[in-house]
Amino acid sequence: MKPCYVYNLFLNKTIIKHYSLRLSVVFVCVFFYLITLLSVNQSIANEFGELDTQKYPQTKIKKNLQDKYYRQALFFYFQNQPSLALQQLSYNKTRFNTIDNDAVLFEAGLQISLGLPQQAQQTLVHIIEQYQKTKIDIKESIKSSDSFNIENLNQQDLLVIALLQLAEQKIDHGDIVQTEQALAKIKHLPKGYYTQYYTLKQLVSWPEKPELVITDMMSSNSDIEREYSPYIMLNQALWLIQQQEYEQAFELLSFLKSHHIEEKQKGFWRSLFSYSTNAYDVIDSNSLQHKDNTPTSTSIDSLVENRALNDYARLLLAQMYVVQGRYSAAYQELEVFPEDSPHSEQALFLFAYSALKTKNYQEAQSMFTLLAQSFPYSNFTWQANGLLAYSYIEQNKMKQALVQYIAIEAEYKKGLSDLTNFQQLFSQQINLLQFSNVAAQISQHNEQTNAFSLSSNQLYIPKSPWLKKALSDVELSALYQQLLELDFLTKQLSQQQQKNDWLGEALILNKKRKNKIINTQQIKVHLTMVEHLKSMNMQLKQKLQLSTSLENGEVFANENERKWLARINNSKKNIDTIKLHQNTTKYNKRLKRIKGVLAWQLKMQLPARQWQHNKQLDELEQLLQYSMLRVDQVNTLLTENDSLLALEQRQLKITQEVGQLLESINQLRIKTNKNIKLKIESFISLQQEQLQRHILVTHRTMAKLIEDINKNKNKEKIQQAHNEKIQDGL
């Protein structure tokens, strides 16, 4: 047979004799067609053949998906990426419509650390309401993975933590009433939270002494905690000082100035809600030493905290002595005060003042000079200047005192002139963050910023000493931080806008690709082909049914058998040709025998071959149905616009939102700038007023001093004249 005969067989219905060959050709065509179709539509379920799931054992275990996603948030949190952790929780809420209670509390902690206190408040209030609605069983434990290294707290403990945090939030905003209400709801305290609770109680009750309502403390642990909590003791000391009960305050402060705070390992929840500078370094929160024995950040924090507490107690003690007039005690107390303490400015002033009062003039003078050198713009320095000059007066060194006062007056006037320059420069500044060649913008926390960061990790530290002094005002510092945050948010939004634009382009490309496929009419071609193949299949089925009913084995003959049949036919023809000239009985007999044998062979194989062809036709039919399904699916995908349209709308909505947010940020930046300028103006006025007052006092003192000097001179002259007279008389 020629190769083209196969093709002719496929198309020409009138010469169809070789049924099985045609079937195999159809099969091959359908197979290649499927491969083509699959490349057009990738989202096709595999229905080819019977899928044996037993062959692929799958560990599909039903697990709490929320727990899995929550742990993804924890993964970010433990790496000092609270923004990403909060982002993950936000995503979880959108995907699952709800999150577990422990995830909600975790969210509140993250919101606090990222400067979203109102959000945190709402979350905490929500948790509290949830807990109060459901029946709380003390033995009930929260859902947590076995591999968690997080303290397992029961729901009641978590409620207490939420209430304590809410109380802290409220008191930060000065809302005493709500703080009291939050604290009143606490009926029991878990281990390690007594200090926080009692300290809040102290703050709320100030200036009264707090009354503890809770009696269900954890017996001995709470007693130890109560007894040795330094912050509670410090607040008590302050209260006693206010009540002028100095003896008891003295005892507490004497203990505190040398007390060493025990390094405590913070649990997960304590670290989450901690306000310390290294609050995010939670990896080390449960360890106090690295493996190479270097101290961890928690350990270092603890040392710094300890020192600060000791220094503050010592300073309070010295102040108490000064108030009581016990200057030598104050002097001795501050003699060993460390130089690098955050309270060194006040301590230095107080020490110098005590030295002056105990008539250690030289020491007082050197200390006042040191104060002026170390903190030239400090209010303490301005007072110290006056005291330094006064110390000369005390020593009857009038001329030196006068010289000192002249120098001080020049300093004050220079200060005024500096202030005026600063005022002029500042008022002209448009971008306030660029003022005064920023000295540094140091990273406050260890968090690396990323596309989803919500807070800037920088501090604003200007070079201008006046601005540095102004930034000691908490509100102004907060306003500058706000400016930094706004700048940071602007950058973040720009990045998000770029990403959104990129997604918009991806959508456009998708649309183009889809339209291209539609325009090439490929689907119609596929549809036609499938229909055609289906009709062919139907015809083949009919023929098979017919041959089955006729029990005609010849239609299922293979190649050899077809050759034999052809040979038999040829032989029959030849016999018919020579029949007239010869006796063909023998030949007919032989032919009949061969034909019979072949017919018997074909008949024996008929059932098997019938079944095989039926099966193949059934498989073909399935394949064609599957193909039809695919074509329908692809057609649906290409013609329906909903999914891409929905994505487009979302993308446009995000573009609009970004624009609105940028505008809002700009407005807020203008307001913040205005507020900062007002505050700086107010600060400058105050400083000018103080300097002028100092100049006035200096002038008055100088006038009196000059008067005294002149008086002394006159006295000396009179005395000298008197002495001369006496000598002359003699």
Binding site: S43, Q72, N500, L661
Partner: protein
């Protein structure tokens, strides 16, 4: 005399008017910070609102990106978790799908500890067509004796219309004193 008093009266009235105007002006331009404080807290509230909106926007953008680039019908995500991590100190992981390298990750100390503390890392997110696939993961790390060790796993799965999420769990086996890698396919 009359003129004298008239003038005096006039002067007094003007002084009173001046004082009144100064007083009114002072009221309009307060020097103390009481109004500023309320302004500042309003600003703080506004900033917080902005942050909340930015967070919401970030979330929407993230979900849009996921829906567009990794639709559920083709999405495959692979996660890594560590249970305890005493017998195997994780250093790196390589991921292959059907023999092709698709992801690799080198762990810092912090990342490893995050996993040991219970975090789950999304190692890979990609697209896969329907059908049978094979996932191969090779974990490299150190054992308790600080010797280099590798742990590998092969996993066959079928991709259908839903997203496929596979978690590779490096778990300590106390009975064998070593770690093994288990595969868990999440049921969505």
């Amino acid at each position: 005399m009359r003129n004298f008093f008239k003038n005096r009266f006039f002067v007094v009235v003007i002084h009173l008017l001046l004082m009144a105007s100064v007083f009114t002006l002072a009221q309009a331009l307060p020097f103390n910070g009481s109004n500023e404080i309320s302004d500042n807290s309003l600003l703080t509230t506004e900033l917080e609102q902005l942050k909340k909106q930015v967070l919401s926007l970030n979330r929407e953008l993230f979900i849009l990106e996921e829906d567009l680039l990794f639709p559920a019908s083709t999405q495959l995500a692979v996660f890594v978790s560590v249970n305890i991590g005493h017998f195997f100190i994780l250093d790196s992981v390589e991921l292959k799908i059907n023999g092709n390298d698709v992801a690799g990750f080198l762990y810092t100390n912090k990342q490893r500890k995050s996993l040991e503390q219970g975090g789950i890392q999304r190692l890979y997110q990609g697209n896969l067509k329907s059908g049978e696939h094979q996932l191969t993961a090779i974990f490299t790390g150190l054992d308790t004796e600080h010797r280099a060790v590798k742990r590998a796993v092969n996993y066959n799965f079928v991709k259908e219309d839903d997203a496929v999420m596979i978690e590779l769990k490096v778990e300590d086996n106390s009975s064998k004193y070593q770690a093994e890698v288990l595969v868990e396919q999440w049921v969505l």
